[in-house]
């Protein structure tokens, strides 16, 4: 399968002569747009061509060509393949590219990420600050010439392990306190942000002490987190309150940032597979799939039938347990302390038993390989899956329905709150259940089917209200649809091989780019992979739904009560492993 483009039907270079050229590099597709014309082209694509959903914005450092590139992937919410377009800038500081936030507000956090990690200045961006690293960080770590502390080699495998066999433990290489570099003259002990109002807080809406009826009122600034039970991890939101009403809000993240993508570029293609498990650690099966899809596109390798079916079975089981846990944890956020969560954990336990039997691990599955799977289903596992799918899970989903859906307290807490209109949801690049709850029937399994999803009968679940209750209903119904897919997949599961060719630890990946995307339980999970023909990817980017879905967090919270913030964050369904990468 080639990377989808509309090159045949849409000739951008004829529409914008001189400013847009087709990307002619071997293995590449799409268009190269002149920086000065970017906004014009983007507006044309959105308004006239219907590419309303900006899925992903990625920076790429082409150090040998002295170029920095920003890659945009836009899709139509009505379905079909997307369009890639790119802006190139000479690799001289400052590197400047116009911001597309005025066209697609969903680029907000992503452009901040590129600024942080690549040092590309987006002119016209409303709030260009570092996002994943902290304010005092030195340099832009994803640049190819930026080396981490105790850097060893550009690419694994490292020779010191074999054949040299020099034994050194991690702590000898990485003494505590000595593994960070700072800007010259920077003393982390003495550093305080010179003016705390300056950086983060001025990005919030300015507030003035108002005088009404002669009584002085003031807005309050509250830091929720980074250690806050509502955030399911280390995540912080800075909020300005007028009484209990949220006036302005900014998410602060990166506490779990480990530069996953830099690690990914040091790794060989295969070595990245277990690392993807650690993104959204609830759904390692889906994570594996997205990555396998991208690399399979580059390699041009087909997946045997049986493996395709098992992939669907695993991904849908994963979706069910994700939505179950979401429901349980959501109720925790609302204050129903742990009863629904523990009910959900029981079903998840049974699903994880299956993952453990198949993949060897409950959460870190590492089960997919390029062109197939690591191993076939062990004896007895298919029976267990059938037991669950045919005899248990449907009843349990109904039980959740009985337990929660009509509960008056739940309805009162969720209904009508944090409404997101379909227009806003698309503009902010929301994907997954949150987008569908706003009434946009966009599901990649249907919009651009991957694997064998085009063979199954299922409904794309939508609701129209766009509020928190709608998000709950969408997920509840999606579990039923997943069971529907599972029943068909189990019935159709053929015998046969589970991988194309011999399993290989060093795969040959032809040069080029590929974007593999799947409908993960949390939204669109995409992997943008560039190979230059070497054993390691030149670029490995993860489009994390948890991260991009937060772009609309402020929009969803402003005007509401602070007490609802906890629940709103819950309804987005974030996982910090994926958010901070």
């Amino acid at each position: 399968m080639a990377t989808p483009t509309l090159t045949e039907t849409l000739d951008l270079s004829a529409k914008f002569p001189g400013a847009v050229t087709a990307d002619a590099r071997p293995g590449y597709t799409g268009w190269i747009v002149e920086a000065g014309k970017l906004l014009e082209v983007a507006a044309f694509l959105r308004d006239e061509m219907g590419y309303d959903l900006l899925s992903s914005v990625t920076g790429v450092d082409y150090l040998p060509d002295e170029k920095m590139e920003v890659v945009y992937q836009a899709y139509k919410t009505t379905g079909g393949p997307g369009i890639f377009f790119k802006v190139q800038a000479p690799r001289l500081d400052p590197i400047e590219v116009p911001s597309v936030v005025p066209i697609w507000p969903g680029a907000d956090l992503q452009e901040r990420e590129i600024w942080d990690l690549y040092g590309v200045k987006f002119t016209g961006h409303p709030d260009l600050r570092r996002i994943l690293t902290w304010e005092g960080f030195s340099g832009h770590p994803m640049r190819k010439d930026w080396k981490e502390a105790f850097y060893e080699e550009d690419a694994k495998p490292f020779k010191s392990r074999w054949p040299e066999g020099r034994i050194k433990m991690a702590e000898e290489r990485n003494p505590f306190g000595d593994n960070v570099t700072f800007d010259e003259g920077f003393d982390p002990e003495k550093w305080t942000s010179n003016d705390p109002e300056e950086a983060l807080y001025t990005s919030l809406k300015k507030y003035t002490a108002e005088t009404s009826d002669g009584i002085k009122t003031d807005h309050i600034l509250v830091n929720m987190g980074p250690q806050h039970p509502s955030t399911h991890g280390v995540f912080r939101a800075v909020v300005i309150l007028d009484g209990e009403t949220v006036v302005s809000l900014k998410p602060v993240m990166g506490y779990l940032h480990r530069n996953h993508e830099k690690i990914g570029e040091r790794n060989t293609f295969l070595q990245n597979m277990p690392y993807t498990d650690r993104l959204d650690y609830f759904n390692s099966m889906s994570n594996n799939w997205g990555y396998a899809l991208a690399v399979e596109k580059l390699m041009g390798v087909a997946v045997p039938e049986r493996a395709e079916y098992i992939r669907v079975i695993m991904a849908e089981l994963s979706r069910i347990q994700n939505h179950l846990i979401w429901t349980g944890m959501m109720l925790n956020d609302l204050g129903a302390y742990f009863t629904p969560a523990l009910y959900a954990f029981e079903e998840r336990e049974l699903i994880l038993d299956i993952f453990e039997a198949v993949a060897g691990s409950r959460m870190m599955c590492n089960y997919f390989r390029f062109g197939g799977l690591a191993r076939d289903l062990p004896e007895g596992t298919l029976e267990k899956i059938k037991d669950l799918v045919f005899d248990r899970l449907a009843a349990k989903v109904d039980e959740f329905d009985r337990l929660l859906t009509e509960n008056e307290i739940l309805v009162a807490r969720l209904k009508g709150i944090s409404k997101l209109s379909p227009e806003d949801a698309v503009a902010y690049s929301m994907t997954g259940p949150v987008l569908r709850a706003a009434g946009v029937p966009y599901d990649i399994r249907r919009a651009e089917p991957y694997g064998i999803y085009d063979r199954f009968d299922f409904d794309v679940v939508t609701q129209t209200d766009g509020d928190m209750y709608a998000r709950y209903l969408v997920r509840l119904e999606e579990m039923r649809q997943s069971l529907r897919i599972l029943r068909q997949a189990i019935a159709g599961l053929p015998e046969g091989p589970i991988i194309t060719g011999k399993p290989q630890y060093q795969v040959r990946v032809p040069a080029g780019e590929a974007y593999g995307r799947i409908e993960a339980p949390k939204g669109e999970l995409g992997y943008y992979v560039i190979s230059n023909g070497k054993p390691n990817p030149w670029r490995y980017h993860v489009r994390a739904p948890s991260f991009i879905n937060l772009t609309a967090l402020e929009k969803m919270c402003v005007g509401g009560k602070i007490a609802d913030f906890v629940a709103i964050l819950g309804t987005i369904d974030i996982v910090l492993g994926e958010l901070d990468r």
Binding site: W162, E171, P503, Q506
Partner: protein, 199 residues
């Protein structure tokens, strides 16, 4: 707002509440017997899902993987390690936590297919299982022993890593059988080829 939905929900909770006691009575006095555990992980599981670790333990499936170990064959009292220090596991290991020192023949200086030293930094190991998956000699396998918490760093050396083939056969009977058959077939093919050549 008439509380009907609430009551409906509470009926679920009540059923669960009674179930947990009924199940407790049913398994009264029985610790984690295999039947109890099989029931707990079946489609009919009800009541309490948890077990009292460490008194009760859930069995792990054959494919379960934890820190790798090196397989040796027992031959007349000596331990014959299968590893040839080919380095594939060290190369494939994602966090690069395998360190191998090769053996050189003291007289000729040529490499000998056997590791002089073999270390796995078990605190770095991400239990991915790739080493075991790609070792061409069935020499490194994933263990089932997950209780390795300690007060010190877990850097496993050759001595700590070596476990007999019989142990491997015990924890992974199906895999072991498959591999033994494959090895036997390969040996037979080799013998046949040699015989054909000799003629």
């Amino acid at each position: 707002m008439n509380g009907k939905g609430l009551l409906k929900g509470l009926s679920v909770t009540a059923k669960r509440f009674f179930d947990s006691y009924l199940e407790d009575v049913r398994w009264l006095g029985k610790k984690a017997t295999p039947e109890k555990i099989a029931f707990r992980s079946s489609k009919d599981a009800r009541g309490t899902f948890t077990v009292q670790f460490p008194e009760e333990k859930l069995p792990v499936p054959e494919e379960f993987r934890y820190i790798p170990f090196l397989v040796y064959d027992e031959a007349e009292g000596s331990k014959e390690i299968r590893c040839t220090s080919c380095g594939i596991c060290a190369k494939v290991c994602p966090p690069q936590c395998i360190w191998i020192v090769r053996t050189n023949d003291p007289e000729t200086g040529k490499p000998v297919p056997q590791p002089a030293e073999f270390y796995i930094d078990a605190d770095i190991c991400m239990n991915c299982g790739l080493c075991a998956e790609y070792c061409p000699f069935d020499a490194i396998k994933m263990d089932h022993d997950y209780e390795i918490a300690s007060y010190h760093r877990n850097v496993f050396n050759l001595e700590k890593l070596m476990k007999p083939a019989s142990y491997y056969a015990e924890i992974r009977p199906h895999n072991n059988q498959r591999e033994e058959e494959a090895r036997a077939a390969k040996a037979a093919a080799k013998a046949a080829a040699a015989a054909a050549k000799a003629e």
